[in-house]
């Protein structure tokens, strides 16, 4: 069983590091991990779940605001949702999503419709990609615990 635990821990460590290296996560995610303990063992997963729900809601708001069939596009309305998404992605360490929101915000301010639509598509892809990656990461954690091991602290630096 120990060999299994070690293997899983190694996998977990490598996977986590790769998420940082590939720019999915930044050190605000590390900050969130600091807030997790035996008393609140699922804190990070809970916050990220809320974040992904936020993504769905905000992206749908943006899509609605960018819908030309309902009349002229209200870029400030789009911008307001982008601002919110930028804020929450920043708070959870979702680095790529946040970076996209920065560009998205600029397109909103420039009232660049094509740019906005492109960003909207990218943001949708990006949050879903992160969600999949994190689900895999949380699954690895679960497997380690089920095998009787502890989830290792991963030192990113």
């Amino acid at each position: 069983m120990d060999a299994l635990i070690s293997q899983l821990q190694r996998q977990f460590r490598d996977y986590t590091i790769s998420l940082y290296q590939q720019g999915f996560l930044d050190d605000q995610f590390t900050e969130l991990k600091k807030l997790q303990d035996d008393g609140s063992p699922d804190f990070v997963a809970e916050v990220l779940t809320l974040f992904f729900e936020d993504c769905v809601k905000l992206i749908s708001n943006m899509a609605r605001a960018l819908d030309k069939t309902t009349g002229t596009v209200d870029f400030s309305q789009v911008g307001a949702s982008v601002h919110q998404l930028k804020g929450s992605s920043s708070s959870v360490g979702a680095k790529r999503v946040k970076a996209l929101c920065v560009s998205f915000k600029e397109y909103c301010e420039a009232k660049n419709y094509e740019g906005c639509v492109r960003c909207l598509q990218q943001v949708d892809i990006e949050y879903k990609a992160l969600k999949t990656k994190l689900q895999d990461m949380f699954n690895l954690e679960k497997q380690i615990i089920q095998a009787g091991g502890r989830v290792p602290q991963v030192d990113i630096n």
């Binding site: 807030l35 804190f43 920065v102």
Partner: protein, 254 residues
């Protein structure tokens, strides 16, 4: 967790026995923080940050709810709110309806809560914004995303404050023993230099070896410790205090 955006905390009057007003020092050492943020994710995070640093937290989703909680949403100040124990208010700046700045003003205008330190959080490092908040009496300005170190620093100051004032701050609005001395009236420019003993230092008889920071010194480390976004704007207003600028460029005062 305060997911519904409502109020999630006991008021001191509810915690006390009937008839007890000034007596029964309940958890005077325990700091009660009112957190205000329209983002659910941010509310959850700030609440956890505060709880992990041993604060009791009430988290609300708007300035209006904050005023409602404090009993400032109508003209009458009821007796119940006199005993409401709030040691710190931490609020987001950008909120729909009422901004954190507007909330700050309303708090500073109230007789019951003007002594309560108010900390502003913002994702944008805009100097004019920071200056405006400080001039209105904000204790500190935190750049989002807020980190554990930021909250721990706030917490350390509050512990000293609560202990020294015996939890009676709110009952004596003119109390000169109030430990976190507020900034001077908005008209006078700040002339604090970090080396000399500034007139605004937190007055204390604490024998704590770590140096007390004045409110401006407290804030000066915060914006610099976080990476500045591409879109974050550092605007300058020429007539503002140059000394504050200097302080902001020298991190590590903490």
């Amino acid at each position: 967790m305060a997911r519904d955006g409502g109020v999630s905390c006991l008021r001191r009057s509810e915690m006390m026995n009937v008839g007890g007003i000034e007596s029964a020092p309940l958890d005077l050492d325990e700091v009660h923080v009112l957190a205000v943020d329209d983002s659910l994710v941010d509310r959850i995070v700030i609440e956890r940050l505060l709880r992990i640093t041993s604060c009791k937290v009430t988290a609300v989703d708007s300035g209006w709810r904050a005023l409602e909680f404090l009993g400032l949403d109508n003209e009458k100040a009821s007796a119940e709110f006199d005993s409401l124990k709030v040691d710190l208010i931490i609020t987001d700046y950008c909120m729909p309806g009422m901004t954190g700045y507007e909330l700050l003003k309303k708090i500073k205008e109230s007789s019951n809560f003007k002594e309560v330190p108010v900390v502003i959080m913002s994702s944008e490092n805009v100097l004019t914004r920071i200056d405006r908040c400080l001039e209105e009496g904000a204790q500190d300005f935190l750049l989002k995303p807020v980190k554990l170190a930021d909250v721990k620093r706030l917490r350390n100051h509050l512990t000293k404050d609560v202990k020294l004032s015996n939890g009676n701050k709110r009952k004596l609005p003119d109390d000169s023993d109030s430990v976190i001395s507020s900034l001077p009236p908005p008209s006078s420019p700040l002339t604090i230099s970090p080396e000399s003993s500034p007139p605004l230092t937190i007055s204390t008889e604490s024998s704590d070896s770590s140096p007390q920071l004045s409110p401006v010194e407290m804030f000066s480390t915060s914006p610099l410790s976080s990476p500045i976004d591409d879109d974050d704007v550092l605007t300058t207003s020429p007539e503002e205090s140059p000394i504050r600028r200097q302080m902001m460029r020298s991190p590590g005062l903490d």
